[in-house]
């Protein structure tokens, strides 16, 4: 059990007022709020140990390097991985682009297939479209079941030996649907395809031991798990990381540089050109420490309880339709919905007047919107710091939206 009152006091922004009301932050799928521990870790880094890493023979530089590499170890252990296979990137988007350009561009050919799901975030679509244009590989989409989960029906027909990559999110940022990770990775493995797991929504909300998924790569972002902006991580198997070309050249990622030829540093540094996000790594490390101290199991259970409560309460609002599974074992706490003929953007504006922050739009998932045949959805998303009272406020504000729209 979480002592929610104490926990909430770790997040300074939660005491803020918005439009005369105490902030109700229900947009954690977009980015999460930060506990003081994370902010203080970065502040302390800058006030006490700031220096460039891997470069100097002076004390500050040694300290900064230790903090940076120490953060890598923390983040790696948080997902059950080895530091040497954990690359710091700018975020999920950059991580997936690394894979697409660093692996895809060099290993895909005309006629090959890249399989992905219609529920993917643009970060896991656009890079593959670009690689597809460069290589002639074709994009094939898996669609959804009636309850908005990846439809594995007919996957045997789709997965043939021309499939080289199967890429999918661990949890959809729109429907909240989780998985099916192992079924997809097994199916991919059976045709010798490589698997990419977009962990942007999964890793923040569920205990993850990457060894339990038989995937080749996983990407995630610090800012979605209490950490700072500007950093994320790419995990990969040793073999795949070795096969990958670096997608940025510069300092730190080299072994030797001559006028015309250079050689690369070993993984993970091969993929970390230039001055890395050092303070951000420190903050990322503090974020996973915070999450681990609360306990990922506890967090997942809290979110399941909250999501169950939210789905039940939202069912009381007339004309409200949820786009996502109802079973909280099959979904996380990103709840997309529409309400009568009120456009999501209007819902968001009305809620904002009561200090309630939700997101409205295509959630960087336009192909999914087209598939669902909606222009946009409203989305409330929860994290460890949310409480049932906030869902009550959400529901009563939605009732007010109905009134304003004369319903």
């Amino acid at each position: 059990m979480i002592d929610l009152e104490r926990l909430r006091s770790d997040f300074p922004i939660l005491s803020r007022e918005v439009n005369g009301h105490r902030l109700v932050y229900l947009d954690s799928a977009a980015t999460t709020q930060k506990p003081t521990a994370v902010l203080d870790s970065m502040d302390a880094y800058y006030r006490e140990s700031n220096a460039n890493v891997h470069r100097g023979a002076h004390t500050l530089s040694a300290e900064a390097t230790e903090l940076y590499e120490g953060a890598r170890t923390k983040v790696a252990h948080f997902i059950g991985a080895k530091p040497a296979q954990t690359v710091f990137t700018r975020g999920t988007t950059t991580a997936i682009n690394h894979i697409a350009y660093g692996w895809g561009l060099n290993h895909l050919n005309e006629g090959d297939k890249i399989v992905l799901t219609i529920a993917e975030h643009h970060a896991n679509i656009v890079p593959w479209q670009i690689i597809s244009r460069h290589t002639g590989a074709e994009l094939v989409y898996l669609e959804l079941t009636d309850d908005y989960r990846v439809d594995l029906n007919g996957i045997d027909r789709i997965l043939d030996d021309r499939v080289k990559i199967v890429t999918f999110s661990g949890m959809s940022n729109v429907t909240g649907a989780i998985g099916p990770i192992n079924l997809l990775s097994e199916a991919a493995r059976s045709v010798g395809a490589l698997t990419v797991l977009d962990g942007a929504q999964l890793v923040p909300h569920h205990p993850v031991d990457v060894a339990e998924f038989d995937v080749d790569f996983m990407a995630f972002s610090a800012h979605k798990m209490l950490g700072p902006t500007g950093i994320g991580a790419l995990w990969g198997t040793r073999e795949r990381l070795e096969e990958m070309e670096p997608t940025e050249g510069g300092g730190e990622m080299i072994n030797t540089v001559d006028r015309h030829v250079s050689t690369w540093a070993p993984v993970p540094h091969k993929f970390e050109a230039g001055t890395p996000p050092i303070a951000e790594a420190v903050g990322f490390g503090a974020a996973v420490d915070y999450l681990s101290a609360v306990g990922m199991d506890v967090i997942a259970q809290h979110e399941r309880d909250l999501t169950r409560y939210a789905l039940d309460r939202l069912a009381e609002v007339p004309d409200l339709k949820v786009y996502g599974p109802d079973d909280v074992l099959l979904r996380g706490g990103a709840v997309s919905f529409e309400l009568a003929d009120i456009h999501p953007h209007d819902i968001a504006t009305i809620l904002d007047q009561e200090g309630i922050a939700i997101r409205a739009g295509h959630h960087c998932a336009r192909p999914l919107m087209q598939y669902l045949d909606v222009p946009a959805t409203a989305r409330a998303s929860f994290y460890l710091y949310n409480i049932p009272e906030e869902i009550d406020k959400l529901v009563s504000a939605l009732m007010n939206a109905r009134r304003i729209f004369g319903l």
Partner: protein
């Protein structure tokens, strides 16, 4: 009236739910499309201009009440007006939407006096992030008229 009720006036909800001039034109016409990538709102319009006058107009689109009502009201207002009157109207509308109040040469108490029905949209000014919703139709219109200018 609360700021919200001022934003979502009845006339706006009416235009949102019953958009005027929905459809496409078949004869000779100008066409333009606009999209607001941050929220996904879309707006496209056909206008027929004869002898410097907008004689017919039709629109399609999807989006929030503000963007669609703004478009519907705009379509209604421009038909029958000369291109230069429409340009003038566009200018005045954009001024009304400008949040820098000091810059606003329209009568601040009754900015709608020159804008008719469109006056109802002034509630948007209290919601800065929604101003681009109201503006989508108008910038699409400007695009269409610019083509006219280039053709003539």
């Amino acid at each position: 009236m609360s700021q919200l009720d001022e934003l979502y006036r009845e006339v706006i909800l009416d235009h949102y739910r019953n958009p005027r001039r929905r459809g496409t034109l078949s004869g000779d016409h100008l066409h333009a499309e606009g999209v607001n990538p941050s929220c996904g709102d879309e707006f496209s319009l056909d206008i027929e201009v004869r002898d410097g006058v907008v004689v017919d107009a039709a629109m399609q689109g999807q989006g929030c009440s503000i963007s669609q009502a703004s478009g519907s009201m705009m379509m209604n207002t421009i038909v029958g007006k000369s291109v230069s009157d429409v340009e003038d109207l566009t200018y005045k509308f954009k001024l009304m939407m400008s949040i820098e109040e000091g810059d606003n040469p329209v009568d601040p108490d009754r900015p709608g006096s020159v804008l008719g029905d469109l006056e109802a949209l002034q509630g948007v000014r209290k919601f800065p992030v929604r101003i681009k919703c109201a503006g989508l139709a108008w910038s699409t219109l400007s695009d269409a008229l610019q083509q006219a200018g280039q053709e003539s």
